[in-house]
Amino acid sequence: MMLKIWKFIADLRLTFWLLLAVIALLVTGALYSKADYHLFERINYMPVSTWFRTLGLPVLAKSWWVPALFTVMTLLAVNTVACAVERLRALWPRRRDMAAPRFLVLMAPSIIHLLFVTIMGGHLLTFEWIEYRRYAVDPGSSIELPDGNLVVVKDIRMENYPETTYLKDRLRNARYILEITGSGGISERALVFLEPLRIGRAFLHTDVTKRTAGVMAEKGATVCNRAEVKSFPSSGPQFYIVYSRDPGLPVIVSLLVVICIVMTWFYVMTMRRVKEA
């Protein structure tokens, strides 16, 4: 009985159907995400379980595919590990019948699959345990990060596209001059787009949006007298500092490097063998 269950779990035909299910769920999710961008975009800023409990469950008709996807991916991970174990079990008794490099080449695909499953595990760490904060900042703003560091934005220097181009007056880059106070003392550092700053185990990134017009009504007023309401026209972009601490990132990056090395070695050895044949 157990053998039958194991054979079913380690069957490549099961892999085919699980992959089809993943494709269907991802396409479904893309359609729902496009229809309600704001709802699903919030997943990126909080643990998935928190998102589902607070925002997803009330609209289960739109969010059902998220737990379904996690379920199918878990089954796929189990199936992948089982297939890899079965292949290793079949190869292991034959290891003395062939040269060591040949044996390693035959084992490589299974090792790559196991590494891939571990990378998926790294993504799961990210989805569930990422710490993410977004702070709107202007020159002079000060923010206290979750890890206790204090960041003062001394200046934000904007760089626009050249005046001679059609993109003039559009933001090309910005440099934040930051004063960071932490356990290591006070330091002044620069933060620019696409060059995140590392502070301990966390990273600081930049972000920018259009500054929206503000409408102010008199505090405590029960009637909105439009003649008294002031609006502020957009006055330059709104800059943000994004704080992120991602426990899955080291897992993903390190194993990705290992996979690239193993795959390159595997294909070089295979091509060599094909040429010799």
Partner: protein
Amino acid sequence: MFNSYCSCLLAAAITGYAVSLALHVLKLSKAGDAALCLGFLLHTGYTVSAGHLPGIFLALQVFEDPSYMPWAASLVICVNRFRDRSDEGWSLAVVVPLVFAIVALLTPRSMSYFGPNKLTAWATFYFVTEFFSHASFFVGAVLAALFLAGKAREGSYHRCLVWGFVAYTVSHVVGSIWCFLGWAATFQWVHVHLKAAALWVFYANYLHLRYLPSWNERNRAWYAAAGAILLAACRYAI
């Protein structure tokens, strides 16, 4: 004026592709190859000109332009056509750059806003590899259909899809680096990332079909051809 001049280049390239297809159907292979080369050269000129649209040369603008993907398809066909002139399937696959170049011609040229998060080599490399892989998948799908019709070899479409998958995997890795640098996450729950993941899994599934006895050559070709439908849906409908 500049745009009108460049559109003429693309129109001429489309004419070259159409003439090439017609000549290959009429079994005039050498003339067909010459027309294909001419179309490719004109297409290259048009695609490169996209970089100058904002008034400053931006490489990313070249690879984001709708004309880049059919250009990549034309490149794949040219390279393989001259590697193996005996396989007529490659010459008939010119229908891919023909159709998508027409789509590009009908798409108004626009300057994507180059916000700060796009100005990195990672973003450029991402679009280079992603649209190259899309081109390979479309060409592979057409070759699979031609194989089913008895006009191409099985090895052709498989090789095309394998290289497309390698390029697509590279684009995912590069894209995740870009996403982390710009948005503090290697993957985001937005439709762009979700449909890209769906496509990757589709072709990963295709690679496993060779190990399933029930999936013979013809069934694999059907699966490969169906990939064009999913890819077109992801590009234009989702």
